[in-house]
C-alpha cells in the first residue's frame, strides 16, 4: 500500500471513531426535539457523563458499569428537564442553561470528592477494537468500518433504528406529530406529556453516554472541561441534519472529519499556527450553519411548552 493510502485509511478509521459522541449527542437532541423538548444542556450533561462514566468505571473496574452509570445520570438530567418544562411549564432555554452549569459544576466537583486532588490521574482501560469476522478482512473498508470499538457499531445501528422507528412505525408518527402540532396530537388522544418525558429521558441517556465515550476511548481519564464544545456542536449538527437520524449520522461524520483533520495537522506540524487549527471545528460549524440553518426543517413546536388549557397555540 502506498503512503497516501495508509494515511487515508487511518484518517477514515479515526473519523468513524470520533463520530460517536456527535452521533449519540445529536440523536439524543433530535429525539427530545421531535416532541418539542429542546435540550440545550448537552455540554453539561456530557461533562457529567464523562466524569461519572470515568469514576464508576475506575472504582468498579468495569467500563460497562461506567457507561451504564453515565447513561443513568444523563437520563436523570433528561427527567429534570422534562419535569421543569413539560409539567411546570418553565422556559426551556432557562432550565436548559441552569442544567448546563449544574452539569459543569458537578463534573468538576465529583472527581475531586471521589479521588481527592491527585497529581497523576488514574487511568481506565480504553475500549478495545472488536474486529468483525470476515468483514474486517475486506481491503480498505475492513479496517475503516469493521475493526472499531463496540460503540461505533452501536451508534450506527442506533441511527438506523431511530430512522426506522421515527419514519416507519406508528410510535414514530405519534412522536413527530407532537413536535409538529401538540394540540392536534392531544386531541387524537396521544399523551403529549408522556412522550415528552420519554424522549427527553432517552435523549439525556444518549447524551450522557456520548460524554462517557471521551474518557472511555480517547484519554482513559477525566480532565476538567474535556468535552470542549462537542455538546454545543451537537446542537448545530441536529439542525444541520434537519432533525432526521440518518442525515445526523452523516453530519456527525463530517464534524468528526474536521476534528480529526484539525488534530492531524497539529501533530503533522503544518505551517499554520496550531491555534488556528484548534479553531477549525468551531469555524466549520459556524460556516455549516450559515448554509443550513435557514433551510433546516426543525419541528414546528421545538422549544415550546404545550398547555392544553390555552386556547391559542
Amino acid at each position: 500500500m502506498s503512503g497516501i493510502e495508509v494515511f487515508l485509511i487511518d484518517f477514515l478509521k479515526l473519523t468513524f471513531l470520533s463520530m460517536v459522541p456527535f452521533v449519540l449527542a445529536g440523536q439524543g437532541t433530535m429525539l427530545g426535539g421531535r416532541t418539542g423538548v429542546f435540550n440545550v444542556a448537552q455540554e453539561g450533561i456530557m461533562l457529567t457523563g464523562a466524569a461519572v462514566g470515568f469514576l464508576v468505571g475506575y472504582l468498579s473496574s468495569s467500563v460497562f458499569l461506567g457507561a451504564v452509570s453515565a447513561m443513568l445520570v444523563g437520563g436523570v438530567f433528561g427527567l429534570i428537564l422534562a419535569y421543569f418544562t413539560t409539567t411546570l411549564k418553565m422556559d426551556q432555554f432557562v432550565v436548559g442553561l441552569a442544567l448546563f452549569f449544574t452539569g459543569l459544576g458537578l463534573s468538576s466537583l465529583l472527581p475531586k470528592l471521589a479521588l481527592g486532588v491527585t497529581l497523576t490521574p488514574p487511568l481506565i482501560p480504553t475500549l478495545p477494537d472488536i474486529p468483525i469476522p470476515l468483514l474486517s478482512k475486506i481491503p480498505v473498508l475492513g479496517p475503516i468500518l469493521f475493526n472499531q470499538n463496540i460503540l461505533v457499531y452501536l451508534s450506527i445501528i442506533l441511527s438506523v433504528l431511530l430512522w426506522y422507528v421515527l419514519f416507519r412505525t406508528n410510535l414514530g408518527l405519534r412522536l413527530r406529530s407532537i413536535g409538529e402540532n401538540p394540540k392536534a396530537a392531544d386531541s387524537l388522544g396521544i399523551s403529549v406529556t408522556r412522550y415528552r418525558y420519554l424522549t427527553s429521558i432517552i435523549g439525556g441517556m444518549l447524551i450522557g453516554l456520548a460524554g462517557a465515550y471521551l474518557p472511555m476511548v480517547y484519554t482513559g481519564t477525566f480532565t476538567d472541561l474535556m468535552v470542549k464544545g462537542r455538546g454545543w456542536i451537537a446542537i448545530a449538527l441536529t439542525f444541520f441534519g434537519g432533525w432526521s437520524p440518518l442525515p445526523i449520522m452523516f453530519g456527525a461524520l463530517f464534524f468528526a472529519g474536521v476534528e480529526v483533520l484539525s488534530y492531524r495537522m497539529q501533530v503533522g506540524g503544518a505551517f499554520i499556527p496550531y491555534q488556528f487549527l484548534i479553531m477549525l471545528p468551531y469555524i466549520a460549524t459556524i460556516i455549516v450553519m450559515i448554509f443550513t440553518f435557514g433551510k433546516a426543517k426543525a419541528p414546528s413546536f421545538l422549544g415550546q411548552n404545550y398547555d392544553r388549557e390555552r386556547r391559542t397555540l
Binding site: F93, V95, L97, L104, I286, G294
Partner: protein
C-alpha cells in the same frame, strides 16, 4: 409592604438553597455552620475582604449585564466569556503598541479598544442572527472556543514575555494602568466604570424610548413587529451593547488588574454571569445587587477552601441551587395568581 412581599420569595429561595447546600456540606463530613460563617463574613470582617469583594464585583456585574441586556430583547448571549477575552486582547494590543502615550490618552484608548473589540466579537454572532437567522446561543458559545485559541495565539506570539513560564504577553505601558482609588489593598477606578455602566444601562432600558422598544421586543416580539419596531435591529443592537460591556470587563482586567494579557485569564466569571443574570430574572437594575451577593459568596468560598479545606465547587452548587429555587418560587407566585 409590597416591596417586602416582592423580596420575600427570593429570601425563602436563598434560605432553602443554603439549607440544601448545608446538608450537602454535612454529608461531606464538614461543619456547615463554620462554612457559612466563613462564606458570609469574610467580605465584611476586614477592609481587605471588602475590597476583594468589590474587585470581584466589577467583572461579575459587567458579564452579567452582557447577558441580561440582550435578554431584554429576548436573545441569549452565552458568549460573554469570548467577548471579555477578545476585549482583553484589544486592550492589551493598544496598551502594548501605544505604550509611550501619556496616561490621559492611553487609559481611555485602552478602555475604548476593549469595548470595541468585545463589541466586534458580539457583532459576529449578532450579524449571523440578523442575516441568516442562526441561533445566537450556538454562535456565541462557538466563538468562546475560538477566542480561547485566539488568546493563546496572541499570548505566545510576537508580544510574548519570554521570562514568563506561562503564555503571557509583556506588560502594557505604565501610563495605561487604571488609576487607583485605594492603594493598599489595591482598588482601581474600574469599580467606578462598572457602576457607571450599570447606571447607563438602567437609564437606557428604563428611561429612553429606544430602551423601551428593546424591552417590548423581548416581552412580545410579534406585537412589537406589528407596531413598527424593527425587532431584528433590536436583537442586533442589544447583542452588540452586551458584548461591549463584556469587552469593558476584559479591558478593566488587563489595565486594572493583570497589566498584561495572560492565557487562562477566563476564570468562571462568565458562567457566574449567566447565573447572576438568571437569578436577577433578567432585570438589568437588579444585576449589580445580585452580583454583589455572588461576589460575597465567591470571596467567602475561597477563604473557606483555604481555612476549612472545603472545595470551592460547593459554592457553585449552592449558586445553581439558589437559581433553581428562585425559578421555583416564580412558579409558585404564578400559581397563586
Amino acid at each position: 409592604m409590597t416591596q417586602i412581599k416582592k423580596i420575600f420569595p427570593y429570601f425563602i429561595a436563598v434560605v432553602a438553597a443554603f439549607i440544601a447546600a448545608g446538608i450537602f456540606i454535612a454529608a461531606l463530613k464538614f461543619n456547615p455552620f463554620k462554612a457559612y460563617e466563613t462564606i458570609l463574613t469574610t467580605s465584611f470582617r476586614t477592609p481587605n475582604g471588602f475590597i476583594q469583594t468589590l474587585v470581584k464585583w466589577v467583572p461579575l456585574t459587567l458579564v452579567s449585564l452582557a447577558f441580561t441586556v440582550p435578554l431584554s430583547s429576548g436573545k441569549f448571549n452565552i458568549g460573554a466569556e469570548g467577548q471579555m477575552l477578545v476585549g482583553a486582547i484589544g486592550a492589551a494590543a493598544v496598551g502594548i503598541t501605544c505604550a509611550n502615550l501619556p496616561a490621559v490618552l492611553l487609559v481611555p484608548m485602552i478602555i475604548l479598544a476593549g469595548i470595541l473589540a468585545g463589541a466586534f466579537w458580539g457583532l459576529i454572532s449578532a450579524w449571523l442572527l440578523y442575516q441568516f437567522n442562526i441561533n445566537e446561543i450556538l454562535t456565541t458559545v462557538l466563538l468562546n472556543f475560538i477566542s480561547f485559541a485566539l488568546i493563546d495565539y496572541v499570548a505566545t506570539g510576537p508580544w510574548r514575555d519570554p521570562a514568563a513560564g506561562h503564555p503571557t504577553t509583556i506588560a502594557i505601558g505604565e501610563n495605561g494602568f487604571l488609576p487607583m482609588l485605594v492603594n493598599q489593598p489595591p482598588l482601581t477606578i474600574g469599580v467606578i466604570l462598572a457602576a457607571i455602566a450599570a447606571i447607563l444601562v438602567y437609564f437606557y432600558t428604563d428611561k429612553t424610548t429606544s430602551g423601551y422598544e428593546l424591552v417590548v421586543t423581548g416581552a412580545n416580539p410579534r406585537a412589537s413587529k406589528v407596531h413598527g419596531i424593527n425587532i431584528r435591529q433590536m436583537f442586533l443592537f442589544s447583542m452588540i451593547i452586551g458584548a461591549g460591556l463584556a469587552g469593558l470587563a476584559g479591558a478593566i482586567e488587563v489595565s486594572g488588574t493583570q497589566h498584561r494579557l495572560i492565557e487562562g485569564l477566563h476564570s468562571n466569571f462568565p458562567t457566574l454571569g449567566l447565573i447572576i443574570g438568571l437569578i436577577a430574572r433578567g432585570k438589568n437594575q437588579a444585576v449589580p445587587f445580585v452580583a454583589f451577593f455572588i461576589a460575597v459568596l465567591e470571596v467567602g468560598a475561597s477563604a473557606m477552601q483555604r481555612t476549612l479545606l472545603i472545595p470551592v465547587q460547593v459554592v457553585l452548587i449552592m449558586e445553581a441551587l439558589i437559581l433553581i429555587f428562585i425559578l421555583l418560587s416564580d412558579l409558585i407566585r404564578r400559581r397563586q395568581k
